[in-house]
């Protein structure tokens, strides 16, 4: 497996009237392997879309180089920019971008007509693409008469018809309803297995990214935070931001005293945790509401009570005091504690992070405006 997309020190700076200089993409280095499904994940303004547009050739680079399939396509130093139409990519956009003045067949045939493929081949290849996207029989229909899901299938068919090596997907599922999103996800994976292309998938939805990707990149404020497989990212996030972004999180501020861990400000009862070697005196313990075991008070663990119980549709949520902080715990409905009932919480292998800093939050808020 070779590296199919390589970004070397890619940087993009904008100057805006209201916010001054913004480094939209700050020194991105990454390589995506052949046949991989690689996601760019992050909140809005994190630089994921800009990066994708630079790979597609719609944006110039302030610094750095991009290589596609071993060929240099963008380089700020050499002032080299291969235009989008010569990069041999497939791309699917959030708003579908199917052409309303052409019927389904013409939409899918367009890339082949531009390449001056002969007529019989066009018919053959378009029919094949339509077959793989379950659009057979809709050739003569105009996109305006089709549902969102079908329009996105046209966009997919149009992208695969030229058999590209690299497929860029820019939030392709965000405009679809949740149920359809799941089916389309499976279909995209099936197409990838069939046609064997490399996918770059841009999204702000973590569960979607985790379900589809082989590896993913989490970025924030124009910087790469972490690149890894979904399971590693979820289980071992490198910082609080990634922890919080990848799933519901609950944090406890703790102090370490005499080799024991106490909730900050309360030294009556210690939390039963193994302290990592490099821990400072004040730390944040991070875990997830459904990774905390809730048992009767006799089993051990940190003894407390149920402060509040909220029924959710598929699980029960308990707010449980730990010191003066409230810990959020989620269990299946069958684990039933009443409001006020005594209980114990057990943290299973949580993550440890340094006590938080506000500077990052401020910068994030500033960039959201942009």
């Amino acid at each position: 497996m070779g590296d199919q997309i390589v970004l070397n020190h890619v940087t993009k700076r904008f100057t805006t009237k209201t916010l001054g200089d913004i480094v939209a993409v700050d020194d991105f280095n990454l390589s995506v392997h052949e046949g991989e499904c690689f996601s760019f994940l992050g909140p809005s303004g994190c630089g994921k879309s800009t990066t994708l547009r630079m790979i597609a050739g719609f944006e110039d680079l302030t610094e750095g180089e991009i290589e596609l399939c071993g060929r240099l396509v963008s380089s700020s130093k050499k002032n080299l920019y291969v235009p989008p139409e010569e990069r041999g990519l497939g791309m699917v956009f959030q708003a579908f971008a199917v052409w309303p003045h052409m019927n389904v067949f013409e939409n899918v045939a367009f890339p082949l007509r531009i390449q001056k493929v002969n007529k019989t081949d066009i018919v053959k290849r378009v029919n094949e693409a339509l077959h793989h996207t379950s659009l057979t029989g809709l050739e003569k229909v105009f996109p305006g008469d089709l549902s969102g899901g079908q329009q996105q299938r046209i966009a997919l068919a149009r992208a695969i018809v030229t058999n590209p090596k690299v497929m860029l997907l820019d939030e392709p599922l965000s405009n679809l309803d949740p149920k359809l999103r799941e089916t389309m996800r499976f279909e995209i994976k099936a197409l990838q297995r069939k046609f064997n292309f490399t996918i770059i998938f841009v999204t702000h939805d973590q569960s979607e990214a985790m379900a589809i990707s082989d590896r993913m990149m989490v970025c924030d404020m124009g910087r790469i935070m972490q690149i890894d497989t979904p399971e590693n990212l979820y289980n071992k996030p490198c910082n609080r931001f990634v922890h919080n972004f990848l799933g519901e999180s609950t944090f406890i501020n703790v102090v370490i005293k005499d080799g024991k861990v106490y909730p900050k400000g309360h030294t009556e009862q210690a939390l039963d945790l193994r302290i990592p070697d490099d821990a400072a005196d004040e730390m944040v313990v991070a875990t997830r509401p459904n990774e905390i075991a809730l048992t009767g008070p006799s089993v051990g663990g940190y003894k407390t009570h149920v402060e509040k119980r909220i029924f959710l549709t598929d699980r029960t949520e308990y707010l449980v005091p730990v010191g003066d902080q409230l810990l959020k715990v989620q269990t299946p409905h069958r684990v039933a504690f009443a409001q006020g009932e005594a209980c114990s919480v057990h943290l299973v292998d949580p993550m440890w992070y340094p006590a938080d800093d506000e500077a990052a939050d401020k910068e994030r808020a500033r960039r959201q405006l942009f």
């Binding site: 719609f58 708003a95 971008a97 367009f110």
Partner: protein, 574 residues
């Protein structure tokens, strides 16, 4: 079962009696007013074209249809309209693309300037161009002839092509504005995905961008076509002297020559039917095309489109745009102002020939001040009456929805499809003593009635759109808070559509101020309007005086426009 039904019917009666009546009264008023303003004049045209003293008589109509002068006018009308549409569309699309998609500088300013021809009365522009390029005495013509020692005048604006040129310069903004806004709202990924599919920039323009804005282009083009078909001012100024007639000017000619006799008016009515048929065909075409091809091209997140770099072509294209603006906006304006200072028309444009005398004459003459007063009176009253009447009809159509509300809507829009000249004939036939002895001829009221019919659809459209925005829950919330049906109307609905009503008023007031097409056939000795006065001064050969009054008129229009923009900007919409 029957018991339940009975109870519910009784309850409806208990609760609803009072409002049902108010709704009914409003509906009936709408029908009566539309009958008077719209139905009767239109009926009178058709009746008089085909009936004489109560009997069917096709002879008059066939006579007029085969009369060579009328056929020539018909031919000219079509030729002018078609070529104006073609050239206006090309020009509109070109500049829309330049401003909407390329990286040409000073876009905001240019966009504002391209809209100026829109508020400027075309017949004043025609006057200015006539002063410059009249085939016998145009100033620039003379200048060119001397410069290049030519035998004949180089350009003759008093021709079909001259008329086309002037109409193009005033009507291309119809296409320009439609297309530029379509380009701005268009989802840029539609074009980007074509690039990804392998198309070059030029291919994207021809295969994606232009086809996608085609609905906007055809909407604008058909607006040019219908407007040009019915247009009176430009062909009257430029063609009349050279005996180049269009159907609207031919109608005027027939009636004018007959001295306003009934026979002349009947002939006019017959020619009107021809014009109405042509315009109706264009309107049917318009409806067909607009209904068939409107795409949804404004989905997706708002992103600025990637602008196309013009590189070397940037400066030449910028110059071309500036030159166009100068030609169609500044040059005619300057010409009119210059002429207005001349001692006499035909004198060279030298400082010693300049004077303020024309302005003194204009303001001293009774007719002039009266014409300004008349125009103000007419446009303000037409604006106010239409504002209320249009809102009433809109409310009945949108909220009460009685049986026949569709008919109501069609009736109020109908005059929009009828050329101004034709409408005047209908009004003359209806209100000069033939119905119930009401004779408004030669009074200002007959012009007012014609204006009402002509402009009703403007206010009805804006009020309708605003009423659609007032969600029924807003009225219901007032009911639940303790307001009766009438109170909720007065406290919630009316205040909410007030801004739309006000803008409806100005939509009528401004064009009515410069109106000439309708009033030229309706004015009497004491009821000249501003437009008519300028037209007659020029017709009587007092060109510098006409120019002076035109300068005053342009001043008034600019001042009013500025005030209107100020007022409507401050208004909070629904």
């Amino acid at each position: 079962m029957s018991g339940y039904g009975g109870v519910s019917a009784d309850l409806a009666a208990v609760e609803g009696r009072k409002h049902m009546n108010m709704d009914k009264v409003m509906t009936v008023i709408c029908f009566i007013l539309l009958l008077i303003i719209v139905v009767i004049p239109i009926f009178m045209i058709i009746y008089n074209a085909f009936f004489y003293e109560g009997k069917l008589e096709i002879k008059l109509f066939t006579e007029q249809l085969t009369e060579p002068n009328n056929l020539a006018a018909m031919w000219n009308t079509l030729k002018i309209a078609v070529f104006t549409t073609i050239f206006g569309t090309i020009m509109g699309v070109f500049y829309a693309w330049l401003l909407g998609r390329s990286d040409i500088p000073a876009k905001g300013l240019m966009r504002a300037l391209f809209n100026i021809p829109y508020m400027f009365p075309p017949f004043l522009g025609a006057m200015a161009w006539d002063m410059m390029f009249n085939g016998r005495s145009g100033y620039i013509n003379k200048l060119l002839r001397e410069l290049f020692h030519l035998k004949a005048m180089p350009i003759n604006i008093n021709s079909v092509w001259g008329i086309v040129f002037v109409e193009v310069s005033y009507y291309f903004p119809f296409v320009f504005m439609q297309v530029v806004s379509a380009l701005e709202r268009m989802d840029p990924t539609l074009e980007e995905s074509a690039r990804i599919a392998g198309a070059r920039q030029r291919q994207v323009i021809w295969k994606i961008t232009l086809p996608l804005v085609k609905p906007a282009i055809s909407a604008g083009a058909l607006l040019i076509l219908t407007t040009s078909l019915a247009h009176f001012g430009v062909p009257a100024i430029l063609g009349y002297a050279k005996r180049i007639y269009t159907l609207p000017t031919r109608i005027y000619e027939v009636i004018y020559n007959s001295g306003g006799s009934f026979d002349g008016i009947r002939q006019g009515a017959a020619i009107s039917v021809m014009l109405v048929v042509v315009v109706s065909l264009a309107l049917i075409l318009q409806n067909r095309i607009l209904a068939s091809g409107s795409y949804d091209i404004i989905k997706g997140k708002s992103m600025r489109p990637t602008l196309i770099k013009l590189r070397g072509a940037k400066i030449p294209l910028l110059l071309l745009a500036i030159l166009t603006l100068v030609m169609i906006v500044i040059v005619p304006l300057v010409m009119i102002v210059l002429i207005s200072f001349l001692k006499a028309y035909g004198l060279p444009l030298k400082l010693e020939n300049f004077t303020f005398a024309q302005y003194q004459k204009v303001f001293a003459a009774n007719g002039t001040m009266a014409s300004i007063r008349n125009s103000l009176f007419l446009s303000i009253s037409a604006g106010i009456i239409c504002m209320f009447l249009g809102t009433l009809i809109a409310y009945v159509v949108q909220k009460i929805k009685p049986r026949g509300s569709g008919v109501l809507e069609v009736l109020s829009m109908l005059p929009y499809a009828i050329p101004g000249t034709v409408l005047s004939i209908g009004v003359i036939l209806a209100w000069s003593g033939r119905i119930a002895g009401i004779n408004l001829y030669n009074t200002i009221w007959i012009i007012l009635v014609a204006y009402l019919a002509r402009y009703l659809s403007f206010s009805m459209k804006t009020s309708s759109a605003a009423l659609l925005q007032v969600h029924s829950s807003l009225e219901e919330a007032a009911r639940v808070c303790g307001a009766s049906h009438t109170e909720s109307l007065a406290d919630v609905t009316l205040p909410l559509i007030r801004p739309a009503m006000v803008s409806g008023f100005f939509l009528i007031f401004l064009p009515a101020m410069r109106e000439v097409t309708t009033s030229i056939l309706l004015y009497g000795p004491y009821t000249r309007t501003l437009g008519v006065q300028i037209y007659s001064l020029r017709d009587a050969g007092m060109i510098p005086q006409a120019a002076a009054l035109a300068t005053v008129a342009i001043g008034i229009i600019i001042i009013l426009n500025t005030i209107v923009t100020k007022i409507t900007k401050d208004k909070k919409g629904v």
